[in-house]
Structure formats: structure tokens, C-alpha cells
């Protein structure tokens, strides 16, 4: 029906006052056989621009219409070839060049592995291009309307009647002669299709307040629905897929053990791999007396201690351990480590603070390994000495 798309009158027609113009003729038939017979007659009359309307596809009409084969296949072919190239290039670039990905030792550019994606993308591109191409290029959609759609026969033509439409642009078209011709082919009814002044009508419909309100309503509804689904949808079974699992989380009661504790402690008399028990819990003074730093000061120890101090201690205690860290505005002020108390503490006493925490300072036993705690203390000693150098160091 592409020949009928231009239903908006040209500006000149309003100027010269004509509100109606004949754009074609419609003949309505009772059965597909009558339609087929009539098509032969219409073709023999020398008309060339005509098409049929039927409620369902009628087999065998193509050759009666004398249409050349559709070129839609080329659209699908070009889209398919383009998709093949894009898929191959994209997979080559992502898996072999930009982020080389070793999968099971197969080559980075593996043709067999890339075939499924290429195939799916080809099907996707080709089918979308075919549908869009059919509607947009070959059917001339979208369009505002068609003179045919306002025919009083249109309802019957979508149900149990069959029609032939002759375009007025046909060189052989003449309103009276063509009507007579169609009438003589066994048509139940012949109607001249007229173009009305429809542009204002459609402009008003598209920009009308109810329509715009509808758009706003759809936007609000869909965004609210999306928000609700993302916010609450995951809590509703069965969409809470992996949120609920038959396992015991930390601090949860367990029905398996008689004492009801979900979190289990180690078997008595055993030590977990890689951990050493701390024998001085709750007694930092004794730790200060009995623990000895196992490391000797060396370049490696200092470097490691400095790096770990920078990560864990510096934010509060400051780069020079003077209590002027970067977090001091948000947190309670950490004390300087150059105080007499801190300087006179043994390594073991400081180790106890790092292990168990003190006042507002948390325990770092789970974050800094024992070895690193001792090395941090070495670095701290160096800083303390640098800020409190005795007379002999300056000589």
C-alpha cells in the first residue's frame, strides 16, 4: 500500500481550496477466486499500479499481480554478512588482543569457539534487519494513515472480503473509466478513495493533551515498576534465588549441635594452620615482660615495617608517628607515639597493643600478621629515635 502513504495534502491544495482529491479506486469482491479472475482483467486493461487487500495471505496471487521478486533478501544477506564480520572482529579484539584470555589452553583466536556467537549474532542482525527493512523501506512505514483505511469497506476487508486498489498515479487511471472497468469485473462494490485534509487532524491527535498525559503516565508507571522490581522483587520468593540458603551464617543458631552454637571453636588441643596462639590475652604487662622481638633490624625489616605502618597506622598516628594523621578530623585524636611512655615500653608491650587493641584503638590481630607487627615495631623504634635523638647521635 506504499502508494497511498501521502495522505497529507500538499500546501497548494489548501490554497486552491480543494479539500478532497481522488487518490485511487477500490473494488470489493466476494471470494478469492473472483479476486483472481478480476486481477487478470485489470492487468489486461493496461493498468500497472494496483495491489490487493485481503484478510489473510492468498497463495498464487504474486504472479497475477506481475510483481518482481522482493529485494528484501539482499537486506537480510547484507545484515548477516555485516554481523558475521562484527562478531568475528569483536571476539578477536576482546579475547585475543585487548584482554588475552586463556581458556583451557586453546589458542586465543579459536575459530570453533567463536562460531556460536557469530551464528547467533548473524541470525539476530539478519532477522531484525529483515523486519525493520520490510516495515520501513518496502512498506513505507510509519505513515500517518491511508485513504484506504477510511474506506467504509475496510472493516469487511479485514474479515471476509477481498479488494483490488488501483492507484490514481497510474497513467491509465480515470475515475469514471476505471470505476466502470472494476464494476465490470464482478465487484460487489466500487468506491473512489478520496484524500481528505487530514494534516491538522493528525497533528492534533499526536500532540493532544490526553496523549501527552498518557506518555507521562507510562513513563511514571514504568520507572516506578522498574524501581519496585529492583528494590523489592529480589525479596519475593522464588526471585530471592540465592539469598536464602540452607547454611549457618555467622552468629546464627544451629540445630545440629547440642549447644546450639552455629559458630564453632577449634577442637581442644589443636592449632589452626598458619596461626600461633597468643598466650597473653588480657595481660599486656606480662606480654611486655616476656615477649621478645624475633626480628633484628635490617634494611628488609625496616622497608616492610614502613610499608605496613603506612597502610595500617599512619592514617591515625601520622606519617611521623606524632599523632597528626589524616583521619584526625573524623576520628578521636590518636596519641603521639613519641611520648616517654611509648618510648619506654618494651617491644612486647607494644606488640600486645597491636594484637589486642587499647582504649579506642581496635585489635589488629586479624589484619596484620604477627611477623608484620614485629617489623612495624622496628620501624616505630627508628621513628622514635629520629625525633628524640640523644646527644651522642648528633655528634
Amino acid at each position: 500500500m506504499s502508494d497511498f502513504r501521502d495522505v497529507r495534502p500538499a500546501p497548494s491544495s489548501e490554497a486552491d481550496g480543494t479539500q478532497e482529491k481522488i487518490v485511487g479506486a477500490l473494488a470489493v469482491y466476494e471470494s478469492p477466486d473472483r479476486l483472481a479472475d478480476a486481477l487478470v482483467a485489470v492487468r489486461q486493461s493496461g493498468l500497472t499500479r494496483f495491489d490487493t487487500v485481503s484478510p489473510y495471505p492468498l497463495h498464487g496471487l504474486d504472479h497475477l499481480l506481475g510483481k518482481s521478486p522482493s529485494r528484501l533478501g539482499y537486506v537480510a544477506a547484507i545484515a548477516g554478512i555485516a554481523a558475521t564480520a562484527i562478531a568475528k572482529l569483536a571476539q578477536w579484539w576482546t579475547s585475543a588482543v585487548d584482554y588475552p584470555l586463556n581458556i583451557g589452553g586453546s589458542p586465543l583466536f579459536s575459530l570453533p569457539a567463536f562460531v556460536p556467537v557469530t551464528f547467533e549474532l548473524m541470525v539476530l542482525f539478519a532477522s531484525i534487519a529483515t523486519v525493520v527493512g520490510m516495515l520501513a523501506v518496502f512498506n513505507g512505514l510509519p505513515q500517518y494513515g491511508s485513504a484506504l483505511l477510511r474506506s467504509r469497506h475496510m472493516k469487511a476487508l479485514t474479515c471476509n472480503r477481498y479488494g483490488i486498489v488501483v492507484d490514481a498515479k497510474d497513467g491509465e487511471f480515470d475515475p469514471h473509466a476505471t470505476s466502470d472497468l472494476l464494476g465490470g469485473t464482478g465487484a460487489m462494490s466500487v468506491e473512489l478513495l478520496k484524500r481528505e485534509n487530514v494534516s491538522r487532524f493528525y497533528r492534533e491527535r499526536i500532540l493532544s493533551v490526553p496523549f501527552l498525559l498518557l506518555l507521562v503516565g507510562v513513563a511514571i508507571f514504568s520507572s516506578t515498576a522498574t524501581r519496585m522490581v529492583y528494590r523489592y522483587g529480589g525479596e519475593i520468593p522464588p526471585f530471592d534465588f540465592m539469598k536464602r540458603q540452607p547454611k549457618v551464617s555467622a552468629q546464627q543458631v544451629s540445630a545440629v549441635f547440642p549447644d546450639g552454637l552455629g559458630t564453632r571453636s577449634g577442637v581442644p588441643g589443636t592449632v589452626a594452620r598458619g596461626s600461633l596462639p597468643y598466650a597473653f590475652a588480657g595481660d599486656p604487662e606480662r606480654a611486655g615482660q616476656e615477649l621478645i622481638n624475633p626480628f633484628k633490624a635490617s634494611h628488609e625489616v625496616m622497608t616492610r615495617g614502613r610499608a605496613q605502618y603506612g597502610v595500617f597506622c599512619q592514617p591515625c598516628h601520622g606519617r611521623l608517628a606524632d599523632g597528626r594523621g589524616t583521619l584526625t578530623t573524623a576520628f578521636p585524636k590518636a596519641p603521639t607515639l613519641h611520648s616517654r611512655k611509648a618510648r619506654e615500653w618494651s617491644d612486647g608491650r607494644i606488640y600486645a597493643v597491636l594484637t589486642e587493641g587499647q582504649n579506642i584503638m581496635p585489635a589488629y590481630v586479624s589484619q596484620i600478621s604477627g611477623k608484620d607487627r614485629w617489623q612495624i615495631i622496628h620501624y616505630l623504634r627508628a621513628m622514635q629515635r629520629s625525633q628524640n635523638a640523644p646527644e651522642r647521635d648528633l655528634q
Binding site: 544477506a77 586453546s106 562460531v115
Partner: protein, 396 residues
Amino acid sequence: MSTRIAYNFSQPLQLPEATRRKALWLFAVSALFAGAAAFSDWGRFVAGSLVLFLFLLTLGLGCLFFVTLEYTVNANWSVPFRRIPEIFAILIPISLLLAWPVVFGIHGLYEWSVAEAVAHDPILQKKEAYLNVPFYLARFAFFYLVWLAGYQLLVRSSFRQDVTGGEAFTKRAFKIGPVFMILFVVSVTFAAFDWVMSLVPHWYSSIFGIYMLVGIMVAGIALTTFVASVLKLQGRLPDSITRDHFYNLGALLFALNTAWAYIAFAQFLLIWYANLPHETIWYQMRGQGGWLGISLVLVIAHFFVPFLALLGRESKTNLLRLRWVAAWVLITHGLDLYWLVIPSVRNQGPAFGWQEIAFPLMAAAIVLLVGVWQLSKKPVLAVKDPRLEAGLHFHL
């Protein structure tokens, strides 16, 4: 459509006597070659005979499938063509004469049938419940029972309808068709496992039955298309069989050939990806030495060539082209079977000498003889089928 012959299509075709003579000569020459090959290298001859048997059997099964498909989906357009697959379905009973390698030659072909081999192989011992000679022979009998029953109920009865007429057979065939389709698929799957897959008894692929099934469908459609195109070009089919009918045949050939490639690739991709030694061994056999070349030729000749040749709309109605594409697909189907069987049986590179020339010649001679013999006995249309009229009036 160059020659116009006025035919009464309710009578068998008058075929030139020369064609039959040529076919007989061809058969005689191929039989001579086969005899010489048997004396020269028995193992090679048995392997070739297995391929010949599978080729003719799959042609017959493909034709029977096409007939069954028509009744299963109630297709009208294919009724005018149906006589062609019907007459070539006789290759199924004929293939019984060629089935000797899988019955009498099992100890030479199938390692699992040799008691000493099984005794030293724990995997074969586990598979013995299925892969043992008595059960294997019982399955052989079951497969042929199913296929011959289908041949009798769907094909022979259709020949009888030419004389008796009436709707009774057609109505019954609509009931038999879907049931037989299920039995057909199951029997073909297990026949493929038995006769081809168990040539390498450690290897297995669950998609193998479907691979053979799609190959069978392609072979059946290709043979029907080839014979129909030739007869139409000679003017031996009625004018009411039009381009639209051939378009459907061409489209079906195109679709099924693509399905073959899809299944073949699916099998390859999974084995390639998993990369397990007991699975890749089968492709390893086909990727070494000269076999790599054959494998690549198979991919190009069986998939890409027919795919590109049939892609355009016009090419499916151009009978000259359709005829050659169908013949090409038949040849590549034979190559496919050769590729499936020979590397598993003979532990060496591909060889095609005078010892093998007998088999393609004999296959061509038998197909030609069956066609000439049957077409001069039966009408080329199922003349009393109540749906023939609707089929002849088919339009796209």
C-alpha cells in the same frame, strides 16, 4: 522443458531402452572391479562394502522418511513428487543383500565382537551388556523389521492405491505416519550407534544418531530433487508441477543441508572444547595426514558449496542448477559416509585406488537400475491419491 512429450500420467513412463542397457553395463563393470578388489585386499574390500551398504540404505531410509514426513505433517505440495521417494524406498529391502559386512564381517570390523580383545579391555567388558553379538544381531533384525514394516504400510500400500483408489489408505497413513516417525528416529539412532559409532568402541557421542538422521534426510531429499528435476527437464512430469513445487524441494534441501552442518559442528565444538582424550581421538583420526584434507573438503563441499548455491531464491527454481546441486549433495553424502567409516576401520591415510572405484560405480548403477525398473512399472504420480489434485494446484 525442451522436449514436449504427450503423456498419460496414469500409465508408467516409456523410458529409452538404452538407459537400462547403460545401467546394466555400469553394474557389470563395477561388479568386475569389486571381484578384483576382493581378491586383492579383503580388509579394504569389506570396509568399502560397508560404505556402499550404508550409502544405499541411507538413500532408501531418506526416501521413506520423506514419505512419512508428508503424512505426519499433512503436506499437500509434495503429493505429486511422492512417487519418486516411494520407488527409491525399495533400496531398503535391496540393502539387505548388501548388509553382509555388518552381519558376517563383524569380527573383522568391530573390535568389541572379538573375545580376546574384550578380555584385555576393561572398558569393553563394561560395554558388553550392550555390545555383544547376539543382542547386536537381534537389534539388526529389529531395525529391518521396523523399516520393512514402514515400507509395507506406507509405500507398498500406496502402490496398491493406484489400482484400488479410495481414501482408506490415505486416512490410515495419517495415523501410521506419526507413530512410524518415532520408531524410525529411534531405530536409525541405534543403527547408527551399532554400525558406525561402534567401529571405535571406546568413543561415543550422544548426538551421533541425530547426525546420521540428518544425513539420511538430506540424502532422501537430494535424491528426490535430483530425479524430479531430471524428469521435469525431460518433460516426463505434468505441467501442473511448477516452479513453486520445486522451490519447496530446493528450500527443504537447503534447510536440511544446513541442519546437517549445524549438527556436525555441534558435535565437533563440544568435543573440541572439552578436549578429553577419549573423545578427541575420533577427530584425531580424521585430522592427521591425508584425512585432514578430506575433512576440510567435506566441510566445504557438503556445507558451503550447496549453501551458497541454493541461497538465492531463483536458484531453488532453476532446474538445471537444482539438478546439479542435488547430485553434488548426493556425492558429498557418500563422502560423509566414507569419512565416517574408513578412518575408524583402516588405521592409515586415505587411499582411493582401483580397489575403491567399484563402490561409487555400483551405487550409481543400482540407483539408476532401480529408477528405470520402477518407473517403467508404476505411474510417476500417485494417480489415485485423493490429495493429488490439491497438490498439483499448489502455489506459493
